[in-house]
Amino acid sequence: MHIPDGFLSPQTYLPAYGAAAVAWVWAARGLRATLDEVTVPRLAMLTALAYGLGLIMLPLPGGTSGHAIGVALLALIFGVRAAFVAYTGVLVLQALLFGAGGITALAVNALALGLVGALAAVGVRRLCAPAGETFSVALAAFAAVLLPALLIAVVLGIQPLIARQADGAPQFFPFGLEITLPAVLLPHLFIGIGEAALTVLVWRYARRKKWVVA
């Protein structure tokens, strides 16, 4: 669900870079201590999986795309900080190698998908843990898709209010919230279900390999 280059005004992406910089410093701090020759290959493997999932995308009329994300998996197995840093790397590679997403939109995409997605996954998993492992992991993955989708839809939808020409024509993304909210959120309800199923499958793989405990 990345936002591509050229859709966001500088009034949006420059402050977003400020916020993301703080979040990146926070995430990177202490990350090195958690990485060793056992966790790094796993992180690299799931990061590459997230990268691959993100490239199978369907353009949505709301100005973004629909695809699985994989950030819930990263967050549930490695924690929010590692997931945020790893997903930022995924977004940079997708932007520069495939033109999917973009560098001007990187901070917004990273904050929405990488940070909010990871926080949603970990938060929902903890809240719903008493309801059972499969249910809580599935719901965590669903939330990690839907919450970022909502944020992306709002950021896109406010662009016509933020940046207009003198004649009122939009300078950047042209649709308002009345279009972006349904256009982005409705397909992501279904994508969230797919992501939940995929996350449960890979989570079980991770359990079999004893990467995670219940």
């Binding site: 591509p4 280059d5 050229g6 859709f7 966001l8 005004s9 500088p10 992406y13 420059l14 990177a28 990350l31 090195r32 990485l35 060793d36 020759e37 790094v40 290959p41 992180l43 690299a44 493997m45 990061t47 590459a48 999986l49 990268y51 691959g52 995308m57 353009p59 949505l60 009329p61 100005g63 973004t64 795309s65 840093v85 790893a86 790397g89 995924v90 590679l93 932007a95 520069l96 190698l97 495939f98 033109g99 999917a100 973009g102 560098i103 001007t104 020409q165 004649d167 024509a169 939009p170 300078q171 950047f172 993304f173 042209p174 649709f175 279009i179 499958l201 890979v202 793989y205 390999k209």
Partner: protein, 188 residues
């Protein structure tokens, strides 16, 4: 050895500045001129880069452009210049991105940040490992199925492929990590 900012980072900073500049320009003619200059400066790679940029742009901007055209025509406030502005700006930005990647080594950008370099090296290695394994599986599946496979065969194949992909990828990442450890990559 020369000091100062490494060349990859210098190119990246120039690219970032160009992106900010492009997003502050709202005249299609100026953006078209900038794209023209970038095309000339890109040298022999220009048409290949432009083709890739147009393909990437089509994925996102086509649906937005069509949507904008339909909605604006319906609301009777269609402005062709807006459509041109959106697409030219996005095309210029995507072109600059692909041009940058054709000029620099992405890992050189991370020089000086060992943890990020380590993760990026491994992740890029894994992406290549995935590509290789997927291609091998695709060819093996095609060779076993001279007739179009049934849905159940496809599902079974996808399941086996997924498991093998994760196992192979983990093994290869583990080997790389051990090699990096022997070279001191995990030393504090």
């Amino acid at each position: 050895m020369g000091g100062g900012v490494n060349p990859a980072r210098r190119w990246f900073l120039a690219y970032a500045a160009a992106l900010v500049a492009a997003s502050c320009v709202h005249l299609p003619a100026l953006l078209a001129a900038a794209l023209g200059i970038a095309l000339v400066a890109a040298g022999r790679m220009r048409w290949q880069l432009l083709k890739r940029s147009l393909l990437a742009l089509a994925v996102f901007n086509l649906s937005v452009s069509l949507g904008y055209t339909l909605v604006a025509l319906w609301q009777q406030n269609f402005v062709a210049e807006t459509l041109l502005l959106l697409n030219l700006r996005a095309l210029l930005m995507v072109f600059l991105g692909f041009w940058l990647v054709s000029r620099i080594d992405l890992l050189a950008l991370l020089a000086g940040w060992p943890t990020l370099s380590l993760c990026a090296t491994l992740a890029i290695g894994q992406i290549r490992a995935y590509q290789r394994v997927l291609e091998e599986f695709r060819m093996a599946f095609a060779s076993r199925n001279p007739q179009p496979p049934r849905l159940i065969d496809r599902a079974r194949h996808a399941g086996t492929q997924g498991g093998a992909l994760l196992d192979k990828s983990l093994t290869s990442a583990g080997e790389v990590a051990l090699a990096m450890r022997s070279r001191g990559a995990f030393d504090a």
